[in-house]
């Protein structure tokens, strides 16, 4: 596994980028299923959420377990502006981002001097406050438990995004923008400042880095991006309700970052697949088993006596699929514990985080620190 991963990592990155992009562009054609295209859209939205949280947790090293709150602020800002004032979805997007960022600055300013677990607890509290606010609807704007329905689809130049396929490319577009932005942030003066703060806050401060400002920027940028994801989510489903923005979903985002590999962009994708796509796959297990058995039937049918095995397999896969929602949390919990013991740096870690966690004696890869990329 380790050798295989390092082999993949050492291949020229650009080849991978191009191949992945081609795959992403062609995906709807060879999958030919609206269901799986919709799953891909969900994947895209969660990947954007994971990448946005990665700025806070990964780059700046701040524990944040209330990220769903910023997602909610973005989604509700869009929903309210759109349904009440008829502001187009795409105009709402930057507004959502800015409002989410303002919330982030307001709540993070007084708590940024807290470290680790304390900061984490405050963010959990903030997440719950936002969810309860939406739920109780004190100003009559959030629609209470029913949420807000009738949100428009995004449209531009007379094109309306309203099919799974068009949403697929819509989300893919924003995911690509997010990826480019993350890559650029990571390799910038600001990105380095986050690394310095993460490595040694006191040393960073005495080197002339305004650590409070830099950490607040991480919060604000991460929140703004979650706000954009909220806008995309709201227009994708046209209905939003408070239970979507629960603590559980903040935990899922946190797990995406930590399981995938803190600070690592490919890690976020691996984490999103594990946390969001895999449960979906398991739910569809009978269908997949049936397809798999269908493939085997021709060569194995001739042997005879296959029917009993087939029935048994179908039964097992059906019972797994039925029980998955019940067992989901337990499985994630167990996976989390196992990961923390055996691979604390995540499935596809950033090399630097592996060093921070494992204290390995390793030289830096040749690509680091040289001009350009």
């Amino acid at each position: 596994m380790e050798a295989w991963l390092s082999y993949l990592r050492n291949l020229d990155k650009r080849i991978w980028y191009v191949l992945l992009l081609l795959f992403a562009l062609a995906f709807p054609w060879f999958i030919q299923s609206n269901y799986w295209i919709s799953v891909a859209v969900v994947f895209g939205i969660w990947a954007i959420l994971g990448l946005s949280l990665n700025i806070i947790v990964g780059y700046a090293g701040l524990f944040q377990l209330g990220h769903a709150a910023f997602w909610a602020v973005g989604a509700y800002t869009t929903a309210i502006l759109n349904t009440r004032y008829g502001i187009p979805i795409l105009v709402c997007m930057p507004i959502s981002a800015v409002i989410a960022a303002i919330f982030a600055i307001l709540i993070s300013r007084p708590i940024l001097h807290l470290r680790g677990d304390y900061l984490c607890i405050v963010t959990i509290g903030f997440g719950e406050i936002v969810r309860l606010f939406l739920f109780n609807d004190p100003f009559g704007i959030t629609g209470g438990i029913n949420g807000i329905r009738g949100i428009d689809r995004p449209s531009f130049f007379g094109i309306t995004i309203n099919t799974p396929l068009s949403y697929y490319y819509y989300v893919l577009f924003f995911l690509l923008i997010t990826l480019v932005a993350m890559q650029r942030l990571e390799n910038s003066r600001l990105g380095r400042a986050w690394t310095y703060v993460r490595e040694d806050e006191t040393a960073a401060e005495t080197m002339g880095i305004d650590t409070v400002r830099v950490k607040m920027l991480a919060f604000a940028i991460g929140a703004a991006w979650a706000g954009v994801a909220g806008n995309i989510y709201a227009s994708r489903y046209t209905v939003i309700a408070p239970e979507t923005f629960s603590f559980w979903n903040s935990v899922v985002m946190f797990c995406i970052v930590v399981l995938g590999g803190t600070g690592s962009i490919p890690g976020i994708f691996v984490g999103t697949i594990g946390m969001v796509v895999l449960p979906e796959l398991l739910r569809e297990l009978p269908l997949l088993t049936q397809a798999f058995l269908g493939l085997l039937r021709a060569p194995l049918g001739a042997l005879g006596g296959f029917g009993a095995v087939e029935q048994k397999l179908m039964m097992i896969s059906k019972s797994i699929a039925d029980n998955i929602p019940m067992w989901r949390m337990l499985i994630f919990g167990a996976a989390m514990v196992a990961m923390m013991i055996f691979r604390p740096e995540g499935l596809w870690p950033h090399w630097r985080y592996r060093l921070e966690l494992r204290r390995e004696e390793e030289a830096a890869p040749a690509s680091v620190g040289t001009a350009g990329h």
Partner: protein, 254 residues
Amino acid sequence: MALLEVKELTKSFGGLVAVNGLDFQLHEGEILGMIGPNGAGKTTVFNLISGIYPPDRGEIKLNGRSIIGLKPHQITEMGIARTFQTIRLFPNLTALENVMAGLHCRTKAGLWGALLRTKAQREEEKFIREKARYYLKLMALEEHEMVLAKNLPYGLQRRLEIARALATSPRILMLDEPAAGLNEQETSELMETISQIRDSGITVLLIEHDMKVVMGISDRIIVLDNGIKIAEGTPEEVQNNPRVIEAYLGKEEE
């Protein structure tokens, strides 16, 4: 007027008075050595000047302007850089990236520059790298720019810390026991380096236990004991001061 003026500086931790009514002046272009037995309060003085702790009482003025209450990064920006007694490099970053940290406060690209990769931002990035390489070269570390800080030998880590501090373009450089753990040859190279830094126009405030180093390169020396300044003067004056000898060796009748 003194470049840095410290007046009646006092700091206590619980019942322990670490620095007690300390007065001293740092003149432009000199190397001022600060010595004293362990626990005399030398590092606390550094932490007070660099803004890591607020003082209980007293005044610190840089060029006649008070720097009390400023945050450490603001003080660095005003031109006071330091190194740490226990090396505090960024261990998992390369030597080059460590020095680039020092250039942070002298550059300004922010979020939009990073996202849009403007021409100004790209030029600034290039400037940061070139400048960082310049300081690495200055401290004879150019061959190690890609090595992670924690994998450097101890002596080089000390030099890297000085390079990182110099990268902030300081007017005053505070060195906290730079010769600790160095061998004889490294120590004499260090003395030369410190003199060169002074000659380049940077004022140096130096804490050092190695008497050969302090006496050899300091223009003036102040001696601290139990947070109080017990002597001040040229190396010769200090060496012959009975209170200094007492602080280091104990009273004769004991």
